[in-house]
């Protein structure tokens, strides 16, 4: 017998006879199909409250947050780079949302496209969603937003539209299912709550372990979210 068969047989022997085989199969299939949400922490109702809570929680997790109006992303990014003495140079993927950022004709940052090889100081990503419950960003991998940009540069800037902020994880998983369909997933989904840190030396929390030392979130008000647009269509 193969190891797989041995392990499964050992499991089946231990739990035999508690329920009929058909019933067990049905229970598993329906749990996966219905994916019940369980206990959801109470969250804010309005978009403005959600944005406020998201920003508060992200700051608690040591991220910095800038809430701006649509069209002001370029200004906010350039200012943040200047404020932190960083060169006007960023690395990003081919994300369509990020392409809409209107850089000034002259004096805007150098924008490099593609995955990071570890030599970039600043990475820019588009957040698939935000979670107000814990100030968490959700990023989906792909050529639009390569995973290396989330981890290799010392500074990570993430643009997320206010309308993509949900109260809880569970709402984001629904959104992910609508986007990717048929149980498919992007290779990597990153849930990011603040910049990287370690408490491994005498349980003292130190920021900037292997991932970014700084995480800066730009929440954009007044942009239409893609999911809502497609629902209306």
């Amino acid at each position: 017998m193969s190891s797989k068969a041995e392990i499964l047989a050992s499991i089946r022997k231990a739990i035999k006879g508690r329920k009929s085989a058909a019933q067990r199969r049905k229970d598993v299939e329906s749990r996966i199909a219905e994916h019940p949400a369980g206990v959801l922490p109470e969250g804010p109702r309005t978009l403005a409250q959600k944005t406020k809570k998201f920003a508060e929680k992200a700051k608690q997790a040591a991220a910095s947050v800038d809430v701006v109006s649509a069209g002001d992303e370029a200004l906010a990014i350039s200012k943040w780079l200047r404020d932190h003495n960083l060169p006007q140079s960023i690395r990003q993927g081919t994300d369509t949302r990020l392409k809409k950022i209107k850089w000034p004709k002259r004096g805007g940052p150098e924008v490099k496209t593609g995955p990071s090889d570890g030599t970039d100081l600043v990475g820019l990503s588009h957040g698939f969603a935000g979670i107000s419950e814990s100030g968490t960003l959700v990023l989906a991998s792909g050529s639009q937003n390569p995973t290396t940009i989330n981890f290799l540069p010392e500074n990570h800037i993430v643009v997320v539209d206010a309308k993509d902020i949900e109260n809880d994880h569970e709402a984001v998983w629904q959104r992910l299912r609508r986007r990717y369909k048929n149980g498919k997933m992007p290779r990597t989904v990153n849930m990011i709550t603040g910049p990287s840190r370690s408490g491994d030396i005498e349980q003292t929390l130190i920021m900037g372990a292997h991932g970014p030392v700084r995480l800066h979130i730009i929440v954009v008000k007044g942009a239409t979210n893609a999911a809502q647009k497609s629902r209306r269509a």
């Binding site: 041995e6 989904v189 709550t193 370690s198 491994d200």
Partner: protein, 476 residues
């Protein structure tokens, strides 16, 4: 196998109590973890309801484990990944080696994983000419020291800052010897620089898994440093090593348990990085591993199903039980002598390495019950330790002296009149003898007990006599 020193628990503990460096390091466990957890759960009114649901989810999984494993495998394969099954550590190590050899791997980076400790993967890879590099800061420190983790989420909790500086000075000889190393920040920065090169050079990255999601065929890791992510993103091959009970049905179920995991472990609402990986890089991807392998390891778990130890398979390795354990606080993790320390280790170790070698650990408990109180998955740890003690007694593994005392006690306990008389005499006697100081430095026939602590003298009468005094109407 990691060398087993569990049978020497008593000697290990004695040494640990006298180890000043260790005792200084353990102070950080006693306060930090407990306060942070309390603060985090106070801010989530739904915490208790989430614990109930987390327990129910895992119970449901265990009752349907075969089917969920099959569903999970199907989803992994559908998205281009490979699933391998291993019954024990020998098989699991062989599978890792095969995968590494196929890509001519020289170095392997590793995210933090207790299960690779369980199967002693590092020692095995080294013997076969492959260099494993631990990338979690705590794991990196203890790898340099040639040690094993003393805590499941804070592996280097027994090491002080000065010791880390000394270890780095010895290992990183290419750096200037007069560099400042007093601040933990400079130590972290140094490790970051050194490991960054290793991440980029590695051929294979190995991580554990906090969850395997059956619905999507996804493996999930939870970290704060980002080392796990670099480990699994940069090399050509990503290997996930996971035990079979890590399965959850859906993304929603994962999120329910995530909410109790970080709060119970470090007191965070969410760990910094929760990463969901599904298969290898896609055709349109520009980064990520070309191969994605999952090794599903049983190593004795399926034997726990259907026994009085089934509940232990709900464990999500948060470490709350050891963070709150007075025995762990006193002796640290290494005294337990194998991979898993604290209350969860005391239950799991006899199961995984045999009651003859690990059967002593369940005695390392005061039965104060805090471990069960704080366990996010509501695992009845004290009850299971009692089960092990019974087995130890049944198998005549207890020292004969202890056994005789227990038999005498049992004989008296079944005869209430004699029991009361004897306890009354003992209490009164000890109260008179202990007048003044209120405690004994030494006591007849309890020399080994009083060697490390004082024995308090009884302050009032026995429980029964006090009960009679306070509730005369109920006592008969």
């Amino acid at each position: 196998m990691v060398e087993i020193h569990s049978p020497e628990f008593k000697e290990n503990s004695r040494k640990a109590l006298k180890d000043k460096q260790l005792q200084r390091a353990l102070q950080h466990v006693r306060g930090n973890f407990i306060d942070k957890r309390l603060k985090a759960i106070a801010e989530l009114p739904e915490f208790e309801a989430l614990r109930d649901n987390a327990r129910d989810i895992k119970n449901h999984v265990l009752e349907h484990l075969d089917l969920y494993l099959e569903a999970y495998e199907k989803r992994v394969v559908a998205q281009g990944g490979h699933v391998h099954w291993a019954q024990d550590s020998i098989e699991a190590r062989g599978l890792v080696l095969d995968i590494c050899r196929k890509v001519n791997a020289k170095t392997v980076t590793k995210g933090k994983s207790m299960i690779t400790e369980e199967i002693a993967l590092n020692e095995f890879l080294e013997k076969n000419g492959i260099t494993p590099i631990e990338t979690d800061l705590g794991e990196y420190i203890i790898q340099l020291r040639g040690e094993h983790p003393s805590h499941i989420i804070a592996p280097a909790v027994h090491v002080t800052k000065d010791q880390v500086a000394e270890d780095f000075r010895q290992a990183h000889t290419h750096l200037p010897s007069d560099r400042p190393m007093e601040e933990p920040e400079s130590l972290l920065l140094e490790a970051r620089g050194i490991l960054r090169e290793k991440f980029i050079a590695a051929d294979v990255g190995i991580t554990g898994a906090n969850f395997l999601v059956a619905e999507t065929g996804t493996s999930v890791i939870v970290t704060n440093e980002g080392n796990g992510d670099l480990t699994q993103t940069l090399p050509k091959v990503h290997i996930v090593m996971a035990s079979i009970e890590k399965i959850v049905p859906t993304l929603e179920d994962m999120s329910q348990i995530l909410r109790v995991l970080a709060r119970s472990a470090t007191g965070q609402e969410m760990s910094v990085y929760t990463t969901l990986s599904t298969g290898p890089r896609r055709k349109t991807d520009v980064d990520g591993p070309e191969q994605y392998h999952v090794i599903l390891l049983d190593n004795g778990r399926s034997n726990m199903l259907g026994t009085e130890f089934q509940d232990m398979l709900r464990c999500i390795r948060c470490g709350a039980c050891m963070n709150h354990c007075p025995v762990y606080h006193s002796v640290g993790g290494h005294a337990y002598g194998w991979v898993y320390p604290g209350p969860m280790g005391a239950v799991l170790t006899p199961q995984l390495i045999g009651v003859d070698k690990g059967g002593h650990l369940p005695n390392a408990s005061t039965f104060c019950g805090r471990c069960e109180q704080v366990c996010p998955m509501r695992i009845p740890l004290p009850k299971m330790m009692r089960n092990w003690r019974e087995r130890e007694y049944e198998r005549h593994m207890m020292p004969s002296g202890q056994r005789r005392y227990l038999q005498l006690w049992a004989w008296m306990a079944k005869r209430p009149a004699i029991y009361r008389l004897a306890t009354n005499i003992a209490t009164t006697g000890m109260r008179i003898l202990g007048t003044g100081r209120g405690r004994f430095r030494k006591f007849l026939m309890a020399g080994s007990w009083t060697a490390d602590r004082d024995l308090p003298a009884p302050q009032g009468g026995t429980f029964v006599s006090q009960w009679k005094r306070q509730r005369p109407e109920q006592a008969r």
